[in-house]
Amino acid sequence: MTGMAASPGRLIRRVAVYVGAAVVMVVMAFPLYGIILTSTQTERDIRSTDVAFVPTYITTEHYSQIFSNTSGVPVAESMVNSLAVAVTTAVVTVAIAVPAAYALNRMRVPGRRLILGGFAAIYVLPTLLFVMPLFITVVQLGLYDTYIGLVLPYVAFTLPFMVWIMGSFVRAIPVSVEEMAVIDGAGLAQLILRIVLPLLRPGIFAGLLLGFVLAWIEFLTPLLFTSNLSMMTVTLGLFRSTMDIEIGQLAAATVMTALPVILITAFFQRNITEVITAGVER
């Protein structure tokens, strides 16, 4: 009896769930759909007040234009710059963060709580507070408009977060495995190189991706620490360009800037969800 009485209500509820899901999908995806659509339409149609939401054709002219030399936006060059800076940042940050995370979680470090607390507190303060003296220092050291002038702040801005993330991977290694190695006569160096690093491989991979993404999307640092077009990064390229004149090219450049990050996120969405879930459970 209860089953029969419940079935119309259940049907309504099922329909409501699917309607809700459809609304969420459309609203969240619409802006992304909009920019992709814009990037594949001619400039004349983009500038029409008669907005076409479903395309009748697709053109790749804006993409070929932004990668050609005649473009006002050196997209290819800025992608190479961002790639170089982001890869360097990722490697350097992970290389410094892993030993620190290991020591902070598995060894007695004097001032451990102070260090971890300080690392967390940094993110509460506005970045510009640190950037002003850095700007002066970078100019005085002649690092303005150089790769090092970008990599150094990137590494520092990413490092505290990276130590924290790597720490969660270090804690996941069973202590017994390490103790076994020590019983077998391994010194600290051997312990880290032979046992800990191989076990940390998934964490290191995640850390490299994270470091890459954070450097790739950074905007404030290149905005303030570079001015030369040949040093331009992708995010800056979206800004300093002829973009106001060519909306289609701007849209195409935006898609190209977002693409690597979107691919990484889509590919690792399950892992990202797991990291956040682990955070909630603690």
């Binding site: 999908m25 004097p110 260090i115 002003m132």
Partner: protein, 308 residues
């Protein structure tokens, strides 16, 4: 036996060798962070107490005591930015949490295509802030933007000047930022929902509680300890919003979207008044810390209530 003693020495105890090795491992990270954060943070204190010349080259002209702070606290622009910041922060938290909670409740149900919806909800997070700014400029464009186009398609006027109106510009920035933060908040809240024990809800259902009452009296109170950390994260991020404002409005029209963080940028890198910018940056930090302290106190209370 000797092996175990060594194990104690190398991994756990504060023996001198282990301690030195630990310091060596941590040192590079600590030194870099100290150099790039602690040193500038202290230097910025000095800036905030000084009159500074930037041209022809950087030079601290003289010590001015608390003048920079007093000037800020006496300026209309500062208070205007403070109210803008607080309003923006609270609205961002409120709207994001309410929408994300609804989406999380939806994703907590099993239905066909749930995985696809989850990926779609996650996607805005993967859009670099600047790219998201550009994308919303396109959405908000007064003449051929998608939002006005959509309004016209449904028979409206569709002539809203999203980014140029005094009152509406801040709300446009808000929409763009809410869209960007829904992914994080939704996943976080969804994780929380999955922790609320199913048995508790089933017990409530057996006791005759409808789904609304279960939500209101069981799920919401149990979720409070998860909601508050989300609010803290969102609030801190709202205090630091820069990229979106820079791309969408540059703090305008006039000062309508100038939050305190953006005011720091304007004072420091548009007016090159590092003294005022440093003072404003520290006032913003104080505001953020106060807000977090308040939220942290609420979190402690919520945890106690949920535990009791």
């Amino acid at each position: 036996m000797t092996g175990e003693v060594r194990a104690e020495e190398t991994i756990r105890t504060g023996s001198r060798r282990g301690r030195r090795a630990a310091i060596a491992l941590v040192a590079p990270a600590v030194l870099i962070v100290a150099g790039v954060y602690a040193y500038p943070a202290i230097t910025t204190v000095a800036y905030s107490l000084s009159a500074i010349d930037l041209s022809p080259r950087f030079r601290i002209v003289r010590f001015v005591g608390l003048d920079n702070f007093i000037n800020q606290l006496g300026s209309g622009a500062f208070w205007e930015a403070t109210w803008t910041t607080l309003y923006f922060g609270l609205m961002l938290c409120l709207v994001t949490v309410v929408l994300s909670f609804a989406i999380a409740l939806l994703l907590n149900k099993t239905f066909l295509g749930r995985g696809l919806v989850r990926v779609t909800v996650l996607l805005p997070w993967a859009v670099p802030p600047v790219a998201s700014g550009v994308l919303w400029v396109q959405m908000f464009h007064a003449e051929f933007g998608f939002l006005n186009g959509l309004i016209r398609a449904f028979g409206g006027e569709g002539d809203i000047i999203w980014l140029g109106g005094q009152g509406i510009a801040l709300h446009s920035v808000l929409i763009a930022e809410v869209w960007r933060w829904i992914p994080f908040a939704t996943i976080f809240l969804l994780a929380g929902l999955q922790i609320v024990p199913r048995t508790v809800k089933e017990a409530a259902a057996i006791d005759g509680a409808g789904s609304w009452r279960t939500l209101r009296h069981i799920t919401l109170p149990l979720m409070l300890p998860v909601v508050i950390p989300v609010v803290i994260f969102l609030f801190v991020w709202a205090m630091k919003v820069f990229d979106t404002i820079f791309v969408l409005t540059r703090g305008g029209p006039s000062r309508a979207t100038t939050t305190l963080n953006f005011l720091v940028y304007r004072q420091g890198f548009e007016q090159f008044d590092f003294g005022s910018a440093a003072a404003t940056a520290y006032l913003l930090s104080a505001l953020t810390v106060l807000a977090i302290a308040g939220l942290g106190w609420m979190l402690a209370r919520a945890r106690r209530l949920a535990g009791a």
